[in-house]
Each structure stands twice: as structure tokens, then as C-alpha cells.
Subunit: 335 residues, 2 copies
């Protein structure tokens, strides 16, 4: 199959539900927005060997690629509208390998886009002498003026986190053999969280009009809450005892208490961290009931007069002391 | 500089004119469209060693990256609104090399976005063990229902091409040393066309309501006109004598007549090929006067009853015979 046949066979079916994608045979997609809607747009790239492992199932790479982008839309309280996909496929791959990989990858995209309710609207396919490199631009919509920014956090706000934190970091540590001796029943859901994250779209949509500020947890809880604090000119205190952990994460932590810092700094959970006024606690509880996703109040926002605000997040132990293992760094590609 | 410092130093200035880009510090951009506008979106990736040469000036890579994407918007008759940029930078680069390259690259982006009247609205920066890999998603707008598709060509239409064809292919051949002995005054503008293409945005915008079908010439004139023919279920005949060539291209062809096929198949000109009803010739002439860009009628569209329509474009010599050197292939990344 040449690139046109690849597009027709593998990708055109992903675009079938969107008339404005023109079956991926035109120069660009044309999309209508409803009146009163604003466009929300984000781009993310995954590189084999950096963001996923060469041995990860192709289908899981498709799920993850879409999830990391949709998670950014969720953090802005946007609904997904469509996505564009660029594939740089290794020229060293044989046609058989390429088509086998694409089959799995497209199955993952198909499952993820069906869950999220959007379609592929455009793409590009090129060859690379380097590793498999995948880029998605996700397009969403939000009612005019209701996008939730990182910069709106206010002193006195509660800090909430959706779901549970650290599962993806533990999943990666399990895959890397950095933690061993974990029963398969505990390991499997953690690895699943790392390989097939699920963007918190329903929670995200519910943040419009509720949250003062939000971000998704892609760089790590401390780093992403730090982004909110720096953008808002505030600081945060997080109670380490309140950070929600899944049962398998708790089981591992009981035997390896030293990995707690890894969980706070680990990325890839794709939960939402947000702040809201204390008097909106009932609305947060209502959102939990509507979505079935737990929201946990883990800390408070306070004002700050520190100009550089480089380390705005403090994590405290049960006695109110700062945990010394916790800096404010997240994952950096360059240092 | 870590990635956050890189973004603040190099990229935030490119986003300064767009309030909805939030200084590139948020999870996604939020853009408003005027009522009655539709969104036009396209994505393209350039890989070092595939789409540009390692020794190409970084500034020219910035110009080209934006041009290839804006050219797709032009082909739909859209106006540029904003773009998202993903950079996969080689981890093997030293910080000095990275920052020197980014300085040039950003200067090229800045020049190109100023000419086109749009701003950076979002991005992602990652490290790669492979070659420099750059992806842009360009977002544009078009009045509802006025986007020009590839699929609207009608029997009897004239086929037009903007500007001149083959300059970029010759520029690349000169850089590769495949053609030698060309005076510098002739070589320079051809190399410039290859390294710093200029998207035909003004012509493209003028195609709304004028052209039945359009595409940009990125895969080669024959291939891209072929895309129009297949999407429209028609065929085309192009008079080889009418294909517009620049003076330096004519000078080279006089000495190397064998490169004519390379010009027809060469990509990277980023001209617009379109079809329009013969009675709209005066409107085409008016568009030339408005934009200062030549438009040349090079052939005609005819109906076809060939089901697979794999080779819909015929190029004729002055005696009406098909040129045997001309197939219908364009550049394929995979075969």
C-alpha cells in the first residue's frame, strides 16, 4: 500500500462520521461551530522510546495519543469536536510490519474516539529515518467565555483532584521492573492506567462555571498544580494524607513507602486538578454523582508575595510539616 | 534553558498578538470565530533529511513549515487564523546548538506569520532520539459554504495554475548538485523558491466563488491536478507549452530539456492549481490584477467514463500528442 492506500484503508473510516473531513481526500477539513461556541485547540506529540515503549501494544498507543490531547481539552472544560493526526512512520519498517502496527493503532484510535464522541478530520503521513513519532491536534468547543484557565485560582480556594494519583507512574515502574513482586491482580490495573489513560471529559465539562482554574495531570500532580499557582500568582498547600490513591497503589506503598515522591511527580495520570471556592463544595459533590468520578479536596490555595514563585506547592505530612522529598519539578524534556 | 524557558523565550513572542493563546502557558488555546465563518484545519509534518536538508538555514525551515500548511488553507480559499506547532528536537543536540537553531527557526516563523497575518496559538516541545521533526496545524476561516474543494471540477472547465511551476524542483536539484553550471543569478531565485516557498494566500482567498475545484501543488503539478480529477470524477488535458516557467527555469530547460518531466512531477512549488468555468475568465484576469500573481490557463477538464481513473491527467506536446515521459505519479513516502 502506498500512502494514499494507507489513508483510504486505515484512516478514512475514522473520518466517516464527519462530513467536513471529506474522507481525508482534500487539502483541509471544514468544520462548523454552533453559534455561541468558541474553538479550543491543543497539540501533543508522542515519540517511541520517549513517551511510550517500543513493546507497548500499537492499540494502546492509539488510545494514549488521543487521551493526552483530549485531556487538555477536558482541563479547559471543552467538549471534543475533532482531531488531526500526523504520523511519521519509520522508513525502516517493512510493509508488513507497518500495516500490522497501523491495524492495532487504528483500533485503539477507533475505540478512544468512540468513547469521546469525536472523529478524525485530517492528517499527514510521512516517512522518518527516526523513531515512530505521532502528533495529534485536538479541536474542541466551549460556550463563549466559559473555558477554564490555569490562571484563575484564588486565595481560599479548595484544591481538588479527580480519580486517583500515581497509578500511571506505578504502571510504568512495573513495566520497567523497578518494582517487583506485585500480584498480577494489582499490577494489571496500574499498567492499564499507564498504557490506556482515559481523559476526564465528563468531569472537565462540568468544571465550566464551577472551577476557578484547572489543569490536567500530565507532568505530575506537584508540577501541574504548580503551573496553576504560577499562572494565578498564588501558592498551594496539599495534605499528603488526602491524596487519593487506588487500592493497588496503597498496597504497593505499604511495602515501598519510598515511592510516594514518585507518585507525586509521576506524569501520565491524566486526572484533572482544579480549584474552586469552598462554598461550591456541594456543586463538586453533584459533579461526582453525575459523572461517577471521585473528586477529592486535597488542599488549599493561599496568597503569596514571593515574586518568583518557583516552588509554589507545599505538601505536608500529618503533622503539618513539609515533606522534604517533594520539590516542585515535573517532567522536563530538556534541562 | 529547560523547555518552559525555551517556550517563554522563543515562542511566547510569536503568540503575543493572539489573546486566546494565553502566552502559551495554558493547556489549550481558545479562539473565537466570527459568525458565518467556518473553521478550516490542516496538519503537515516536516522531517529533517526528508523534507528539508540538514544544512538548510534554520530560518528557511521556519518559513517552509508555515508555508506548506498555509498553502493548504489557500487551496480551500480560507484565510489564516492561527497555528499550533509541535517540535521534536534531537536530544543529541547540545544546548548551544539547540538555542542557535531555535533562534533562526523562530525568526523564519516570525517573518512568515507576519506576512500571512496570523499568530502561534499553541504548541508542544519534546525530545527525540531521531531527526528534527516539525509539525504544524494551521487553522483558518472561510465564509460558510464558500470553501473550495478538490471535488468540484466540471467538464469544460479551464485549468489554471498560479505563478510558475518547477522552480522549487530545480532549486533542489541545484542544491543536490544534479544540475551544475548555472549562473548564480539564475540559481539563487530557484533555491529561494525551494527553501522559502510563499503560500498563495491572496489568490486562494480570491478563489471563493470563482473556482470549481482547487489544490495546492505540493506533490507535483500532475499529481495534484490528478487529485482534483479523481475527486471530481473527470480527466484533464494540459498543454505542455502553456505551463508557466520562470525565466531562470526556461534558461535551464534550454540546456537540459530532459528535466522537463522533473518539473511536472516536482513538488514544493506551493502554487495553486484550480478549475473554473470558461465564462469566468474575466474574473480570473481581475484576480491577477488584484493580487499581482499571474494565473495561466494551461488546459481543460473533460468528462471520463474510466472507472478507476488512475491516470486522469494527459500532458500534450505542440502537436497534441501525449508526452510519454509524463505519468501521473507524485511524491510518495511509501511504495
Amino acid at each position: 500500500m502506498d500512502e494514499f492506500a494507507l489513508i483510504a484503508h486505515f484512516f478514512a473510516p475514522l473520518a466517516a462520521a464527519e462530513a467536513g473531513a471529506f474522507g481525508l481526500t482534500d487539502d483541509a477539513a471544514v468544520l462548523s461551530l454552533k453559534s455561541g461556541q468558541e474553538l479550543v485547540a491543543t497539540i501533543d506529540t508522542l515519540v517511541e522510546g520517549v513517551h511510550f515503549r517500543p513493546q507497548d501494544p500499537a492499540e494502546s498507543v492509539g488510545v494514549k495519543l488521543l487521551a493526552v490531547n483530549l485531556s487538555d481539552l477536558a482541563a479547559m472544560a471543552a467538549r471534543p469536536r475533532g482531531y488531526l493526526l500526523s504520523l511519521a512512520l519509520p522508513v525502516a519498517w517493512t510493509p508488513d510490519r507497518r500495516e500490522a502496527w497501523l491495524g492495532g493503532f487504528v483500533a485503539g484510535l477507533a475505540a478512544a474516539q468512540a468513547r469521546a464522541g469525536l472523529a478524525l478530520v485530517g492528517g499527514d503521513t510521512v516517512g522518518t529515518p527516526g523513531p515512530l513519532t505521532l502528533t495529534v491536534t485536538a479541536l474542541g468547543t466551549v460556550a463563549r467565555g466559559l473555558a477554564v484557565r490555569r490562571s484563575g485560582a484564588q486565595a481560599g480556594d479548595d484544591v481538588y483532584i479527580s480519580g486517583s494519583i500515581g497509578d500511571a507512574a506505578l504502571g510504568l515502574m512495573l513495566l520497567q521492573g523497578r518494582i517487583t513482586g506485585v500480584p498480577a491482580a494489582d499490577a494489571a490495573p496500574l499498567i492499564e492506567r499507564y498504557q490506556r489513560p482515559s481523559p476526564r471529559l465528563a468531569v472537565g465539562h462540568g468544571l465550566a462555571g464551577l472551577a476557578h482554574a484547572a489543569a490536567d495531570v500530565s507532568d505530575g500532580l506537584i508540577a501541574d498544580l504548580g503551573h496553576i499557582c504560577r499562572a494565578s500568582g498564588v501558592r498551594a498547600t496539599v495534605d499528603s494524607q488526602r491524596i487519593p490513591l487506588s487500592p493497588p497503589a496503597r498496597a504497593i506503598l505499604a511495602r515501598h513507602p519510598d515511592v510516594f515522591a514518585d507518585l507525586l511527580h509521576g506524569g501520565d495520570d491524566y486526572e484533572l486538578v482544579f480549584t474552586a471556592a469552598p462554598e461550591r463544595a456541594d456543586d463538586a459533590a453533584r459533579l461526582v454523582a453525575e459523572t461517577g468520578v471521585p473528586l477529592t479536596a486535597i488542599g488549599k490555595i493561599a496568597s503569596t508575595d514571593i515574586a518568583d514563585n518557583a516552588h509554589p506547592v507545599r505538601v505536608t505530612d500529618p503533622w503539618g510539616q513539609s515533606l522534604s522529598v517533594v520539590g516542585s519539578g515535573g517532567y522536563c524534556h530538556f534541562t
